[in-house]
């Protein structure tokens, strides 16, 4: 007796997409989500909930989207030389809530380019890094990209980016309104010979799929959308639920993946029902056909390691995007209080140019890749205020508002090369509120990231000055200088601030060097699929959500076939 065809662990963009595909193919699925539900009514017709407001306190200070670090601490160290850990608390905390990381993202949804799947072939190896080709090509994934863009609803401008990969279909929607300062920074970038374009964004520019157009309220990146103009992943969840073949259970924390006697096939899961307190009820569910793991690249390896699945490779090759922020301080307001946080990008640092080759050669590297560069606004007023000193200087700083009202920033989502020693494992002594080992990050960037950052920063500072800034400076996350200073004074902290976490259950053709097959099945338990950014072979330099969803779409389609 089974409960469904497939159990999906995690309701973010990967799990939601898998649910949409499998239910459309006639499968019954149960989606288990560790976090609370603030996204949509779980009864027909599955309308959006009204839990989100323009509220900096609830969203950025009081953990509305979870996880609460008191319940689910994570730990961080740079290398094993740091000892067991140097930080306990919040580390790369993506939302733990129905909808996962899609809820808080400002929904930049670019595709990867052809080269990103063939980096070893196109660019070659790099010492002390595991630069490999993916076992899937852009050509194989293109139709799945198109399908996910259609499901989520992506607004974009065809042919605007001269470096973009080919597309078989136009964007489902035209781009939304430009942020005024992005027009200014884009013009300056063009004068520097770069090629900015309107960002593909999973935010409705017109009414789409029964959800309204964005009104540019300004509370986008880091916030749930009050009117659900963001389609990722509420759209895919609604599509799955409306088939009548999907059940979504929040507050369901999967502890175990249950295997049959052979140890080669999953029969279901056991989860903690977190609606019960102080002792959560242990519930077992049985799946007839498959278990889909879509917990994100932090929690997926934690679950696999806890269950002894995937061997020592699980958790290794952790990548982020090495972020370089070039901040321009302008003599006038930049208007970032309204808009979708980021409306323009440029990709030039991803392209193989003589200038980048020369910079690489000078540093003793074979090549350099930066990442997509976001033209964006500053933080909210509380986050700004928290960076300023106490006392009268605080008032002067807030009135001057160099770090919010007059700020504009270029953020490089820099390609981070995979290294075996960068990993997520189980902390040897820190546990969560339910006694399970906390996830621990061990991470230090490769020299490639530092060289690419150092190359790009002065270029972006010059562009900021040309755009009219009166000052410009750059910083990175994770920081590379005084860690004690950053531990207490930096809004970004000492761990990587990037929420783009990837690579911890790599896909590959060789079971000796990968955790999952090209179909994203665990090599040793082939009815367990991984459908999140854990499977990334390299990090590329683009926001990962659309690619992880396209991969989930492909893997679920292959499973259903």
């Amino acid at each position: 007796m089974t409960d469904c065809d497939a159990i999906i662990i995690g309701s973010g963009p990967g799990g939601a997409t898998a649910a949409e595909v499998l239910t459309a193919a006639g499968w019954s699925v149960i989606v288990l989500e560790k976090g609370r539900n603030h996204l949509l009514d779980l009864q027909p017709p599955y309308e959006p909930l009204a839990h989100f407001a323009n509220d900096e306190i609830a969203l950025t200070r009081r953990h509305l989207l979870g996880p609460d670090p008191l319940l689910e601490p994570r730990t961080y160290r740079r290398t094993a030389d740091d000892g067991d850990r140097i930080l306990t608390g919040e580390v790369n905390n993506l939302p733990s809530t129905v909808g996962g990381g899609g809820v808080h993202a400002d929904a930049k949804l670019p595709r990867f380019r052809e080269e990103d799947f063939r980096l070893r072939t196109e660019r070659g190896p790099v010492d002390d890094a595991s630069v490999d080709d993916w076992p899937v090509t852009y050509e194989e994934l293109e139709g799945h990209y198109a399908a996910v863009e259609q499901s989520f609803g992506v607004a974009g401008e065809d042919d605007a980016n001269p470096f973009a990969a080919w597309r078989s279909t136009p964007f489902p929607m035209p781009p939304g309104d430009d942020m005024p300062m992005a027009v200014v920074s884009s013009a300056a970038a063009e004068r520097a010979g770069l090629h900015p374009y309107r960002a593909p964004t999973g935010t409705n520019s017109v009414e789409y799929d029964g959800r309204p157009a964005c009104v540019d309220c300004g509370f986008c990146g880091g916030y749930g959308c009050p009117i659900h103009a963001k389609g990722d992943p509420i759209a895919a969840l609604q599509h799955a639920l409306r088939t009548g073949r999907c059940e979504l259970r929040p507050d369901a924390y999967v502890r175990d993946i249950v295997l049959d006697a052979s140890g080669r096939r999953a029969t279901g899961v056991r989860y903690l029902d977190l609606t019960a307190y102080p002792e959560p009820r242990l519930v077992e569910l049985r799946a007839a056909r498959a278990v889909v793991v879509a917990c994100g690249a932090f929690e997926t390896p934690r679950l696999l390691l806890r269950n002894g699945l995937g061997r020592d490779l699980v958790g290794r090759y952790l990548t982020y995007h090495f972020q370089t922020f070039t901040v321009g301080i302008f003599p006038r307001d930049t208007g970032g209080e309204r808009g979708r946080s980021v409306t323009h990008l440029h990709d030039d640092l991803m392209i193989d140019t003589p200038e980048l080759r020369a910079a690489a050669s000078e540093a003793g590297l074979p090549w350099l890749r930066g990442g997509v560069v976001e033209h964006g606004a500053g933080p909210g007023p509380i986050d700004e205020a928290a960076t300023y000193p106490r006392g009268e200087a605080h008032l002067t700083s807030m009135a001057d508002s160099a770090l919010r009202r007059r700020l504009w920033v270029f953020t490089i989502q820099g390609e981070d090369l995979p290294q075996a020693q960068n990993r997520i494992d189980l902390d040897p002594s820190v546990t969560d509120a339910w006694g399970l080992p906390a996830g621990r990050v061990t991470y230090a960037p490769h020299r490639h990231e530092l060289v690419a950052s150092a190359y790009a920063a002065p270029i972006h500072e010059a562009i900021m000055m040309d755009a009219g800034a009166e000052a410009a400076f750059s910083a990175t996350s994770p920081p590379q200088d005084d860690i004690d200073l950053h531990a207490t004074a930096s809004p970004l902290g000492i761990a990587p601030a990037s929420r783009h976490v990837m690579g911890t259950a790599r896909m590959g053709r060789d079971r000796a060097t990968s955790v999952v097959s090209p179909e994203q099945r665990l090599w040793d338990v082939d009815n367990v699929l991984v459908c999140d950014s854990s499977v990334f072979v390299t990090s590329a330099g683009y926001n990962p959500t659309l690619t992880l969803a396209a991969l989930a779409h492909r893997a679920a389609t292959l499973l259903a076939d």
Binding site: A53, D68, C217, P226, L274, P381, E392, H394, M398, A433
Partner: protein, 141 residues
């Protein structure tokens, strides 16, 4: 609303909050702190203000916490109470001073649903525009 502090303590706390962010006490920072420290005396707890009159919410006011979230907030609030006790006893640590600073910032520049930013004065001071989709604010003056 439950109270954590007597009149003398409120006055001294106001001085401490003003030292972190001048003018924060006049904008309701003491109320902000007291409402947070007594948030679990209410049902639903006053941790997350729910959407305001613009929304289709049928339950304006405050969002429910799950039992484990309530557990975490109880622990957090206990720790905050201990911090404020040290502040009032003149024995504040660096951690306590950072908490005081954070709360002064939140009270001055956060939504007035939480008891601070009285009459939007904090936002007016920095020319921050009123949000299009504010949380419900029935509890503030």
């Amino acid at each position: 609303m439950g109270a954590c502090f007597d009149d003398d303590e409120r006055a001294r706390l106001g001085v401490a909050l003003d030292a972190a962010v001048p003018g924060s006490a006049a904008l309701g920072a003491v109320d902000y702190v007291e409402r947070l420290l007594t948030a679990l005396d209410h049902d639903p707890p006053r941790i997350w203000a729910s959407p305001g009159a613009w929304s289709t919410s049928t339950d304006p006011g405050w969002l429910e916490l799950g039992p484990w979230e309530r557990h975490a907030w109880a622990q957090r609030i206990d720790d905050m109470r201990a911090s404020y006790r040290r502040v009032l006893d003149g024995a504040a640590t660096d951690v306590d001073r950072r908490l005081l600073h954070a709360h002064a910032c939140e009270a001055t520049y956060g939504d007035r649903a939480y008891g601070g930013n009285r009459r939007g004065g904090g936002w007016q001071r920095i020319a921050f525009p009123e949000p299009l989709f504010p949380p419900a604010r029935e509890t503030t003056g």
